[in-house]
């Protein structure tokens, strides 16, 4: 097993943990952190799988940089909305029973 493969497998595990957190965690701050874990997992897979033949591949690095920018923007938006929700309701969880109206 190559070094890159270890990163890719670790990335897949991180992604699965993060995705589980986004689905199951009720606290929105934890959910935001879980989303970041998920994103980092996907980036690790991208970089890990592309390290074939001992030569690093520059294209996925450029992709990961772009992906990080997107993840930071999404995190900022999530935190801003979360602060607004906290200011309105005093809670950091979604109100119950609003789903199907």
């Amino acid at each position: 097993m190559s070094g890159g493969m270890i990163y890719a497998i670790a990335g897949a595990i991180l992604f699965a943990m993060g995705a589980t957190g986004v689905v199951l965690l009720a606290d929105l701050l934890r959910r935001t952190l879980a989303f970041n874990l998920m994103g980092s997992g996907a980036f690790l897979v991208l970089v890990g799988l592309a390290q074939r033949g001992g030569q690093p591949d520059p294209v996925p690095h450029a992709m990961v940089l772009t992906g990080i920018v997107v993840a930071v923007a999404a995190t900022a938006l999530a935190l801003a909305l979360l602060r607004k929700l906290h200011a309105l309701t005093g809670r950091t969880q979604l109100p119950e029973g609003d789903v199907d109206d």
Binding site: F35, A78, V99
Partner: protein
């Protein structure tokens, strides 16, 4: 050949990006006039692009002269030209509507113009992108600006809906991104064109996993039943112009991407699984319609109608393989629903503004006082029910033709049943509106613009049925089928 300064393709992305940025710099609530001028130009560009694609070869371009894999490749074929046309055709009337809807200094409209500009730039960029990673970036751009628009109302309900929507959309694009990573790891490319001959039915299991992840993520973003939980609060709770943009365009963007992948590189993998989207689509039609029939609030009703109508788009998947009829049915339905649903949300917004409340029960008596708005709602309903001569009728006709031609009786029956269910929830609103008001209920006057833009969109969705052959020629021209 097309790499001149005035090629329409990049400008469809650049223009909304430019007016969105300018509107942001101008400050809250400003930039409406700028947006309207630019949107007229965008509509002209989209028509021009459609004419180019219709007349000749598909359009390609490497942005800034940098070829793939480092540069960004753009490509437009019949399907993307059609979706670009729909986007601009909905965006212009909705912008006119929004300018009248958000009175000066209103809290809801403070950030509408920059966010909707970003949204349109993202949608247009998605339709012209030709590689999986660039598509991911545009998906995120669309998702994040849509979340911002949902939150713009600022109330607890809107913020909660926006957060729910945000986590759904980033979970979806996260799954899509992991799929892209696995595809790149397997083939060393993300270009749709290069991947096309590489992916075969004997592809390694990793590629199947990638396809499954991308599909699941995109289905979540398209709100296909049972992954629709986030849509009704987000679309039903946002201000009317935002709801119209979201229901008419944003969900179509991720649907387009599913269709693009299913017809393109993942076609060998998709053949085995076409029944899955169709089954979920049938579930969406039933569940969405039943919830729309039961909804107490008018915008929740229209939002659940979107859940149901999205179901039709997925009925085409088992029928795609042999000829282009199912693709025509799906694209025409996406177009028809886009116009009709924008009209319906616009009309609903005008009714809510006039009656000062948002329940279906409170509509009693509006028929004689707001006939144009109600007529617009009814016309949009005609398209959703699929009555002739509307474009919805043609879409349904093509779908049934394709289904019967290939012996899928269940799909044809589902299309007919969905039309009947749509009739129930549309007539529920109309019946209520024609009732006599129980007591004297004052109506607030609403700007004429609100009523007439809703009417124009609804009329377009019906009249499109008469000009559908041009759209179908455009679809076939780019070789999307």
């Amino acid at each position: 050949m097309t790499e001149t300064v005035i090629a329409p393709m990049p400008w469809l992305v650049m223009l909304p990006l430019a007016w969105a940025t300018l509107a942001f710099v101008l400050g809250p609530g400003r930039g409406a006039r700028l947006a309207l001028v630019a949107l007229v130009a965008q509509l002209v560009l989209a028509l021009w692009l459609a004419a180019q694609v219709s007349a000749g070869a598909p359009q390609h371009m490497a942005v800034g002269g940098w070829p793939a894999p480092l540069g960004i490749a753009l490509a437009v074929d019949g399907l993307s030209a059609l979706m670009l046309l729909l986007t601009q055709a909905v965006a212009l009337p909705i912008a006119i509507y929004a300018r009248a809807y958000f009175s000066a200094g209103s809290e809801e409209g403070r950030h509408f113009w920059p966010l909707s500009g970003m949204l349109l730039a993202g949608i247009n960029a998605l339709f012209v992108s030709a590689d999986l990673f660039n598509l991911y970036v545009t998906l995120e751009l669309v998702g994040l600006s849509a979340v911002g628009l949902v939150a713009a109302g600022g109330g607890t309900r809107q913020v909660a809906a926006a957060l729910r929507y945000l986590f759904a959309t980033i979970l979806g694009s996260g799954a899509y991104l992991l799929g892209v990573a696995l595809v790149y790891g397997s083939y060393g490319t993300v270009s749709l064109e290069t991947l096309l001959p590489l992916v075969t039915a004997e592809a390694p299991r990793l590629v199947w996993l990638a396809g499954g992840l991308m599909l699941a993520g995109l289905l979540l973003k398209t709100a296909l039943f049972p992954l629709h939980y986030w849509l009704p609060p987000a679309h039903g709770g946002a201000p009317a112009p935002v709801s119209a943009l979201l229901s008419a365009l944003v969900v179509k963007a991720s649907f387009y991407l599913i269709l693009r992948l299913w017809l393109g590189p993942f076609a060998p993998l998709g053949e085995a699984a076409g029944w899955l989207p169709a089954l979920l689509g049938a579930g969406a039609i039933l569940w969405g319609s039943v919830m729309a029939i039961r909804a107490a609030r008018i915008k929740t009703l229209v939002a659940y109608s979107t859940v149901a109508q999205l179901g039709y788009l997925f009925l085409i998947f088992p029928l795609l393989a042999p000829d282009g009829v199912a693709l025509q049915a799906g694209s025409l339905h996406a177009f028809a629903h886009g116009l009709a649903k924008a009209a319906m949300f616009a009309a609903a917004g005008a009714l809510i503004k006039a009656t000062g409340q948002d329940s279906v029960a409170g509509l009693a008596g509006v028929a004689e006082r707001m006939p144009i708005t109600l007529f617009a709602f009814g016309l949009a309903g005609v398209t959703l029910m699929g009555l002739p001569p509307s474009s919805g009728f043609l879409a349904k006709w093509l779908l049934i033709e394709a289904a019967l031609g290939q012996g899928y009786w269940a799909i044809a029956a589902m299309a007919l049943a969905g039309g009947l269910l749509a009739a129930i929830y549309v007539f529920r609103v109309l019946r209520q509106a024609f009732l006599l008001a129980p007591s004297y209920a004052p109506l607030h006057p609403v700007p004429r613009t609100l009523e007439w833009t809703a009417f124009a969109l609804a009329a377009a969705s019906v009249l499109l049925g008469l000009r559908a052959s041009e759209l179908m020629r455009l679809l076939a021209a780019g070789g999307a089928a």
